[in-house]
């Protein structure tokens, strides 16, 4: 039973890290720009389809990462220019607009690929011994990549001048513009970064789930709850949200049962929306 416990502990860490990488793009766009991109799941879906196409054409799987970032980034660029910017980044207007965008993207992918499930083969097969317990290699790779991406982003946001400019723009857009920060470009780049990240998340999870036009819907729910609980616009909030939502689901579903775990997550999210809508670590 000890090995079971160890596997379950790795499972919890895995679920938290995967959720964090899925939330990341949404957190960037929502936390920094106040735009709740309801189509976030669809960008993940498009990233997954990009991975599928890359694999089908016999190219190395790693190439799917820049490909998906490119595809989703370009779509993000177009969306920002013709949807988000004309709506002046207003939270409610963009929420509705991106909801419609999600519908459109799903239908477009359905036109191209049909509704059927596609499966992406696991790029790194086999399992590794991890403290005497075999765990699938690809999942370990994913955990490693997610952890490094998150850590890297954290450091970059703290240290790099762009991070400071974003913080300035978010804190006081008028003053930021007055001191020479090009807020329009900065906002655009932030949005595009968010969609590109969603694309990369799609590539990472594509080998684990059925790839189909509606797959994005499953991701948006948990991502949104993670943001609600964690709080928007801070790195601590991102980690706290992913940790609590992902961890709670994983632990309860291992110890009690999966239905209770899901119920508990919904309950906790409602509690937060009701009593503490800004989450645990909101942007000051």
């Amino acid at each position: 039973m000890e090995t079971l416990l160890l596997t379950q502990v790795i499972n919890v860490v895995y679920e938290v890290l995967i959720l964090a990488i899925i939330v990341l793009g949404l957190a960037v766009v929502m936390g920094l720009l106040n735009v709740l991109n309801i189509a976030h799941g669809e960008f993940i879906m498009i990233g997954a389809y990009t991975a599928y196409v890359v694999q089908k054409s016999g190219l190395p799987y790693v190439l799917a990462v820049p490909a998906a970032a490119g595809v989703c980034g370009i779509i993000g660029l177009v969306v920002e220019r013709f949807l988000i910017r004309p709506l002046r980044y207003e939270p409610f207007e963009t929420l509705l607009a991106t909801w419609g965008l999600g519908l459109l993207l799903r239908k477009l992918v359905e036109l191209g690929f049909g509704r059927g499930y596609r499966s992406v083969e696991i790029p790194v097969v086999g399992s590794l011994n991890f403290f005497g317990e075999a765990y699938p290699t690809y999942r370990l790779v994913l955990m490693g990549v997610s952890a490094s991406v998150l850590a890297g982003l954290f450091l970059w946001y703290r240290r790099a001048p762009t991070g400071a400019r974003i913080r300035a723009m978010v804190g006081n857009p008028v003053l930021a513009e007055a001191v020479g920060i090009k807020t329009r470009e900065l906002a655009r780049n932030t949005f595009v970064t968010g969609t590109a990240m969603a694309g990369i998340a799609g590539v990472m999870i594509a080998p684990l789930t059925p790839v189909e036009p509606f797959m994005g819907l499953a991701f948006i729910v948990n991502s949104f709850f993670a943001l609600v609980v964690g709080g928007m616009g801070t790195v601590a909030g991102l980690f706290a949200g992913a940790g609590i939502i992902g961890g709670l689901q994983s632990v309860l579903s291992a110890t009690v049962n999966p239905t209770t775990a899901y119920l508990a997550m919904l309950f906790l999210s409602i509690l937060f929306l009701w009593q503490r809508p800004r989450g645990l670590f909101p942007r000051p």
Partner: protein, 393 residues
């Protein structure tokens, strides 16, 4: 041009009455037309979690209608389909069913959707017209004037489980399913058959339906428990997710998996790297080698070409519904509830998966046990005319 037409009173009256006649004429003709065409409401998954089956369901239903029409229709009338979406909530679909009855004036309803929706539709149809429910389901429903063509758990498991033990390394079972009536009932019934063959259930897990589930926890437990068989009642994306996770954790060599709802589309999602030692027990596979099936698939290919959607037991049932209804109506000479029910009892009809017989409003049919080879099914055993053991009167 304008001067040639003077708006006099006489001209106005003439024009107005001509116009009125033109508008009114179809109303006079309509009842005559409607009596000719027999409208059938068909509930298909255009949206929702089963939307994947929508195009195949529509294709199967359309071919069913065309086949019946080519042979003179039902009760000597050509049939016409009125499709409605069954992918919404049960209350919404029930509203669509009311609309089908009151405004479209359908005389029968065929449906391929989940049980919650079926109960919603049953509550509004109230046995007023024949309602043919086609997909795999849990059984134990005796609502009046409802006819069940799908596989019930008794059919899927009774003969299949003993056969499956030939491939398994022991007799311990781990049950995993979605948390709803079909999976729970199927597993309750499965426990009885597992007991009969001297097997033992070591654990069971249920995952919420329609939630973004992850299966690492259950797979880790399975790895620790080491059962010989994993019996699955997961549907759609969860079925894919679970089986891919299962294979990733390297369990597919030693543990045999049997799924109670694994059809062609789901297997495509599971993929060839995760389908080793995975079995499926159903009343139809698109590849089965029967002349009726060759005709069925051939006709669809003729009609839709390369775009013909992948058929499976969920969609093909709607084709059967047309064959069934026309066979019953030929005998009952009426669609009245009493006459239809009396004629349905004991009736046999030919379908792409072989002959079926309606007994107590459920359908005795062939059951196939198939092994997954990559993303294809290989039928390894066929059980003929498996009874449903349902007892509706």
């Amino acid at each position: 041009m304008l001067t040639s037409f003077k708006l006099t009173r006489r001209n106005f009256v003439r024009a107005a009455s001509a116009g009125a006649l033109a508008i009114g004429a179809p109303a006079i003709l309509r009842p005559a037309m409607a009596a000719d065409v027999l409208k059938i409401g068909v509930l298909v998954a255009d949206s929702g979690p089963a939307a994947l089956f929508g195009p195949a369901q529509r294709a199967a239903a359309e071919l069913g209608a065309a086949t019946v029409n080519a042979k003179g229709g039902i009760l000597g009338r050509q049939v016409a389909i009125v499709f409605a979406d069954a992918g919404a909530s049960p209350a919404e679909v029930a509203k669509s069913a009311v609309k089908l009855m009151l405004s479209d004036k359908v005389e029968m309803i065929f449906g391929s959707h989940d049980s919650a929706v079926r109960q919603g539709v049953e509550n509004v149809v109230k046995g007023k017209l024949p309602y043919v429910y086609t997909p795999v389901f849990e059984g134990d429903d005796c609502s009046p004037n409802v006819y069940f063509l799908g596989e019930v758990p008794e059919q899927e498991l009774q003969k299949t489980l003993p056969k499956l033990l030939e491939f398994a390394k022991g007799k311990t079972f781990y049950l995993v399913g979605n948390d709803y009536v079909w999976a729970r009932t199927t597993n309750e019934k499965a426990k009885k058959y597992i007991g009969e063959i001297g097997g033992k259930v070591v654990a069971e897990d249920y995952y919420p339906l329609g939630a973004p589930n992850k299966f690492e926890n259950t797979v880790a437990k399975i790895k620790a428990e080491k059962p010989s068989v994993v019996l699955q009642t997961l549907v759609g994306g969860d079925n894919v997710n679970f089986n891919r996770t299962f294979a990733d954790f390297n369990l597919s060599d030693d543990i045999v998996r049997l799924s109670c709802l694994l059809e062609e589309n789901t297997l495509m999602g599971i993929g060839k790297d995760a389908s080793k030692n995975l079995y499926s027990s159903l009343g139809y596979f698109a590849d089965i080698d029967l002349p009726e099936n060759k005709t069925f698939i051939g006709e669809l290919a003729k009609k839709y070409g390369d775009k013909a959607p992948q058929q499976c037991t969920i969609s093909k049932g709607l084709y059967d519904a047309f064959i069934f209804a026309s066979a019953v109506a030929a005998k009952s000479k009426s669609l009245g509830a009493k006459e239809f029910a009396a004629a349905a009892e004991g009736i046999s009809f030919e379908t792409p998966s072989g002959p079926m017989t309606m007994t107590k409003r459920h359908t005795t049919k062939n059951i196939f046990l198939a092994r997954c080879d990559g993303t294809k099914f290989t039928v390894i055993d066929t059980f003929s005319a498996v009874p449903t053991q349902q007892s509706c009167t």
